[in-house]
């Protein structure tokens, strides 16, 4: 039964970003990994067929990944089997264990001020002080990125970091060297333009 869950495409974005940074090769579609999960909060409201709003201490858990935020709104599809759209704001935090397509296991930690996902465009967006860090649990290698916006395309599995006029900062750290590898810190690219919503 098809239980694609676009909600956690946002979580998948973290993984997708890492994939794009060269960590995991080809990642599976972000939603394919997440079949069952929970959303906890102090308050939940909405029509029974949606859209639904959660507020205060929102916690989304699926597989080994967790996302927390202050406010979350989800628009389910008419058949109720999928998410059509979602928005989250306030102290977005994504953390947990991610198993990439190449079986490599990563510890993922991400931060942002807002997040959104739209199934029509197939894009997930993280906005505002986007900060990602991932550690390979086998090798200890760590990669991190800082940007204003992260756009992840679920269909093409491509991502794009934006940081306005400033360069996006990406750092790669090998555990054995105990230092940032040469040339790793730097100007990935500062892509411009509006992210599709």
């Amino acid at each position: 039964m098809r239980r694609m869950l676009a909600l956690l495409a946002l979580v998948g974005m973290a993984s997708g970003a890492l994939t794009g940074l060269g960590l995991a090769g080809q990642a599976p579609p972000a939603s394919a990994t997440f079949q069952r999960g929970t959303i906890e909060a102090k308050s939940w409201a909405g029509p029974i067929q949606g859209p639904w709003e959660w507020s205060k201490e929102v916690k989304v858990t699926s597989s080994d990944l967790t996302m927390t935020c202050d406010w979350l709104k989800v628009w389910p599809t008419k058949d109720g089997r999928d998410w059509e759209k979602m928005e989250a704001t306030g102290k977005i935090s994504i953390s947990g264990r991610y198993v990439a397509a190449d079986k490599a296991e990563w510890r993922v930690d991400g931060r942002a001020e807002a997040a959104s996902y739209d199934a029509k465009t197939g894009q997930g967006v993280l906005k505002g002080s986007v900060d990602f860090k991932a550690t390979n649990l086998a090798t200890g290698a760590t990669i991190s990125a800082v940007a204003d916006k992260l756009i992840y395309d679920v269909k093409t599995r491509q991502f794009r970091f934006e940081r306005g006029e400033r360069p996006v900062r990406v750092e790669w750290e090998q555990p054995t060297e105990k230092a940032t590898s040469p040339g790793a810190t730097g100007q990935a690219e500062a892509a411009k333009g509006e992210a599709a919503k």
């Binding site: 039964m1 239980r3 869950l5 997440f34 079949q35 069952r36 999960g37 929970t38 959303i39 906890e40 909060a41 102090k42 308050s43 939940w44 409201a45 909405g46 029509p47 029974i48 067929q49 639904w52 959660w54 699926s62 109720g80 089997r81």
Partner: protein
């Protein structure tokens, strides 16, 4: 007052006649009690094991609440159910099932308040909360306390403990 005494005796007879209908598991054959309410305002009354139904006059939805114990403050309620097992059905849509330790149903405002180990189940998800307000007219839910929505694989089920009312 002769009239008052008559009404009370009439009510007593009505409740006695309703009691057998509310017992046992043959709920599908029960007549809708709300179609023949008591004819006079009285003090609090109790019904053992029964069902209360509320329906949209235009036929868009219907709501049904079952319980082992129902108390009513008056003819039109509000009704208090302990525990409560409810079913809300919109035309052309799957039913919404609800369980709670207690419920308060106001037929006038068409609102139901579920409290204590509340579970609301709809198709592929189920919601657990301490308190859920359901606006039957709008089909809108407000849950508070610690809320937990579970979605995805595994069909939504009734809680393992709590209501012992009859399922559908």
């Amino acid at each position: 007052m002769i009239h008052s005494a008559t009404v009370k005796w009439g009510l007593l007879i009505l409740l006695v006649s309703l009691a057998p209908l509310g017992c046992g598991g043959k709920t599908k054959t029960r007549p809708p009690e709300d179609e023949k309410p008591p004819t006079s305002a009285v003090g609090e009354m109790q019904m053992g094991g029964s069902v209360i139904r509320v329906a949209d006059p235009e036929g868009r939805w219907r709501f049904e609440a079952r319980s082992e114990q129902i108390e009513a403050e008056g003819v039109d309620g509000p009704y208090r159910l302990h525990p409560a097992e409810c079913r809300y059905e919109e035309k052309g849509r799957p039913p919404v099932l609800m369980w709670a330790e207690s419920a308060r149903l106001d037929k006038g405002s068409k609102r139901v308040l579920l409290t204590g180990k509340v579970r609301v189940s709809y198709e592929l998800w189920s919601l657990d909360a301490e308190r859920v307000e359901y606006d039957l007219k709008q089909g809108k839910v407000v849950a508070s306390g610690q809320t937990k929505l579970t979605y995805g694989e595994g069909e939504s089920e009734r809680p393992s403990s709590g209501s012992k009312g009859q399922g559908q």
